[in-house]
């Protein structure tokens, strides 16, 4: 199966070197993709354990004085070297967690059946806290990074997964999300920015994970948001008004509609037809538009987009956490035991 070659034995097919810094997210697309395909069981337990070990190897631990601001997971071992036989970051100052990597790392561990017992939860939450900005948004890493709705979402996922919101000023986060609600009833990356399908997903999923959706948006605003989202359907979905459709928005906008309890309104037939038209018949996987090379992100999100419509053979996907329902159930059981 072409999909499998992505995760271990083979190599990533598209522009691999530019993905080097965010390898953990590519691992997530592969692992979660296999899970949605129901094929994770074909990987034996030893290999799953090895994958977990690799992910844990990317965890940044607190400094000796207990400062956790750099903590979380980094996306790659590009700057890891062997020192006296131990894998070590070559410069601790530059070893930092990255919110998207921490989120995809935790999500991957859950999917692989790990109980998160080796996650330094307190430190990860300190790392989240260090990245919240004055305006309520989050930056990705202390190493100088943009701050926007994507990392608000990642922070919410991390806090939800670890069941600890103490690292977030929730009022500030909510105000950032609220201020990014646009005149056309979608959400932008930040205040004043254009409404966008991926960003709207991040905003709505954050509100759902915080259990603040109906508190933050009025009934009328939610109706507006529902319309904005359903207007994105062309045959597949586009991310912005008057743009071309793209496979990934069948997930981003589809999941948004799921969370707004409005998914049944989607025209399944057209949506499915579009996603399937972007499938690569030679390598497998999906691309954003027809006749270009498939990549891990669009392949994974294409599958999730199909899963929402009950495609046979695919596992159900939790729309807010973007992991399988099985993994989400496993997480909720873990929560009960904490």
């Amino acid at each position: 199966m072409a999909w499998k070659s992505c995760s271990h034995s083979g190599r990533v097919a598209v522009d691999p070197i530019v993905l080097d810094s965010t390898r953990l997210s590519i691992a997530f697309f592969s692992i979660s993709g296999l899970e949605v395909l129901g094929a994770l069981k074909d990987i034996n337990d030893d290999n799953k354990k090895s994958m977990c070990n690799w992910i844990y190897g990317l965890q940044i631990h607190p400094t000796e004085d207990g400062d956790g601001s750099q903590c979380g997971f980094q996306g790659t071992d590009t700057f890891v070297t062997l020192e006296n036989g131990v894998a070590t970051n070559c410069n601790k100052m530059f070893a930092n967690g990255h919110l998207a990597m921490t989120y995809t790392g935790l999500a991957s561990l859950l999917i692989l059946g790990d109980d998160l017992s080796r996650v330094n939860k307190t430190a990860v939450i300190k790392g989240v806290a260090a990245l919240q900005q004055e305006d309520g948004s989050f930056a990705a890493t202390l190493l100088g990074s943009e701050n926007d709705m994507r990392f608000v979402y990642c922070a919410c996922c991390i806090c939800y997964i670890l069941q600890d919101w103490s690292g977030m000023d929730m009022e500030k986060t909510l105000s950032y999300i609220r201020n990014s609600f646009s005149y056309d009833s979608g959400f932008g990356q930040g205040p004043d920015l254009e409404s966008h399908g991926g960003v709207t997903y991040c905003a709505v999923a954050s509100l759902v994970l915080m259990e603040k959706l109906t508190e933050t948006l009025s009934k009328k605003e939610i109706e507006g948001l529902r319309r904005w989202a359903i207007m994105r359907q062309v045959s597949g979905f586009q991310g912005r008004a008057n743009k071309q459709e793209d496979t990934c928005y069948s997930f981003w906008v589809g999941a948004t509609l799921k969370m707004l309890d409005f998914y049944e309104i989607v025209n399944f037939e057209e949506n499915r037809k579009y996603i399937m038209s972007t499938q690569c018949s030679i390598m497998g996987g999906f691309s954003k538009v027809r006749d270009v090379n498939p990549d891990p992100l669009h392949s994974y999100l294409g599958l999730c987009g199909l899963s929402f419509m009950g495609e046979e053979g695919l596992e159900q996907v939790h729309p807010a956490l973007n992991i399988s329902m099985r993994a989400a159930d496993f997480l909720h059981k873990l929560h009960q035991s904490w």
Binding site: I17, V18, D77, A87, F94, S182, H196
Partner: protein, 337 residues
Amino acid sequence: MSETSSEGSDGDRWVFYKDRPDWKDVTPVKQEEGPFPVVSIAYNAKFKDVYDYMRAVLKSNEISERAFHLTKDALELNPANYTVWQYRRLLLKDLNKDLREEFQYVSQLIDEYPKNYQIWHHRMVMVEWMDDPSMELDFLKEALYNDPKNYHAWKHRQWVIKKFNLFENELEYTESLIGDDLRNNSAWNQRYFVVLHTGKLSEPDQIRKEISFALKAILKTTLNESAWNYMRGLLIHTEKGVLEAEVVEFCEKLYASGNKSPHLLGMLIDMAVEGDDPKLDERALQICRELANRYDHVRAKYWNYMETIVKEKIAATKVADQKATNANEAASDVKNN
């Protein structure tokens, strides 16, 4: 390709760092990928060589010209490596580099990778460090000429305009972009950003002016969602919202001319739901059916849903009317007695 060198993109022979006399004193540092690397990357020889030295430099915290050049090679191989960018910023400061040159460099990179987050972030930091936005608007105009919907460019543009209060000619700029492409939603969004931040949305005259701007654009292509959304955005700031007289008149006229744009029809449904004319309610029901069956088939289920919303409104109105009648009758009974 020989083991020790290769052709660079500009035709120059590439010399591996391990073969460079001026790097002789540095021991390259190998990456440790562990026993079971997941999604491992097929690094080529050049990448391995450059990053072996990048790791060495990071490890020894080397602050030098040659380290600065090394970051450029490392970024050329992976412009998304935020760690290298951060090290480069450290070097820019510690070596007291000319930031104008850095601007040239980052401009070239944006031309090459217009959708890379790390490069745009670096540019933002450079503008902050120099506290000089003078090159930005022209540079962004160029970037948006190449891709008028580039989200990164628009984000940077809004940031620089807000930070340095550069609103002065922005309304005209959005007008020219909308003139180039009426369906450029990013340009419409930018226009909203400008009218909002320049106080125009608190002046009824200015709102009216903007509404006519939008209506003119709608008349040119009535299927253009961007112009409709902009107009609706303006209506949020008016007293009557979607029932604003000028807009009602415009929509009725367009409808009477036989126009069946789903955006127009959607507007008529919303006007009925907001208003209190039973005839318009009945018409809205009819429109919902037409949209579902004919004019916006892909969203048939949505318009069926809207039909139930209109029906609920009609039912609620009837209940309210009945209550009012009962109250009136009760009042007149009291009077008669």
